[in-house]
């Protein structure tokens, strides 16, 4: 199973869970991010830095595999134009230990939020658009995992 996909197309979170369950560890944790339809949002456009994204996410996954006894890791991050209700991101981890699965899943999504080179632009019904500002707490959260 490939570990990291940076892709425009959607994904089937249930199928990804099933693949992680098949890794045999007994404990599977996941996080799924979905576009919220607040403020009449029409679409969310995800931009990224293609030469950097996949390599950097692979490094983060390596670090997670190094820190926790994981049998499987799956990260999918979409780019392009997404509508409310569509998937943005999936992180799934499989381990023999539930705490390893849960903690590594939290670690990975915290890193993706604060360190993966993605930028979001919101589009509204009046034609207006707005770049999402980074939240200070996201950078702080990622630093909290520093060993």
């Amino acid at each position: 199973m490939s570990r990291v996909s940076i892709q425009e197309e959607g994904f089937d979170a249930g199928a990804e869970l099933a693949l992680l369950e098949a890794a045999g560890g007994g404990a599977v944790a996941s996080f799924t991010g979905v576009v919220r339809g607040e403020n009449d949002l029409v679409a969310l456009e995800l931009h990224h830095y293609p030469a950097m994204t996949a390599a950097q996410v692979e490094r983060i996954v390596d670090e997670a595999m190094d820190r926790w006894p994981l049998l499987g890791v799956r990260v999918i991050h979409r780019f392009g134009r997404l509508k409310p209700g569509e998937h943005i991101v999936f992180v799934g981890t499989a381990s023999r230990h539930r705490s390893a699965a849960l903690e590594s899943c939290a670690f990975l999504i915290d890193w993706l939020k604060s360190e993966a080179p993605f930028w979001k632009k919101e589009y509204f019904p009046d034609g207006g658009a707005n770049w999402v500002e980074a939240r200070v707490e996201d950078e702080a959260k990622a630093r909290g995992w520093t060993r």
Partner: protein, 86 residues
């Protein structure tokens, strides 16, 4: 002479109106911050996009770096706002 590719992302790209450009490799001792300051002095959207370095982050050869890092022999500098993925 060696060249440096500069990439812009998100609103930095939009305001400058350019995805990427090539400049001469800066001399030794030049930091990312120095280079951004030089670019910000240009006409067009550069001043607006690059004038406030507190709003900017950078990567050299696809690695995040602090703005006071030396550009050195890097081949690619990316300038962008703080990331908002996930």
């Amino acid at each position: 002479m060696a060249k440096l590719d500069i990439l812009y992302f998100a609103w930095v790209r939009e305001i400058i109106g350019c995805d990427s450009e090539q400049v001469d490799q800066p001399p030794a001792g030049v930091t990312v911050a120095d280079l951004i300051e030089q670019l910000a002095a240009r006409d067009g959207g550069y001043g607006q996009a690059l004038g406030d370095q507190l709003r900017l982050r950078a990567a050299l050869d696809q690695r995040f770096v602090p703005l006071d890092s030396l550009v050195g022999e890097a081949l690619e500098l990316a300038i962008f706002p703080p990331v908002t993925g996930g």
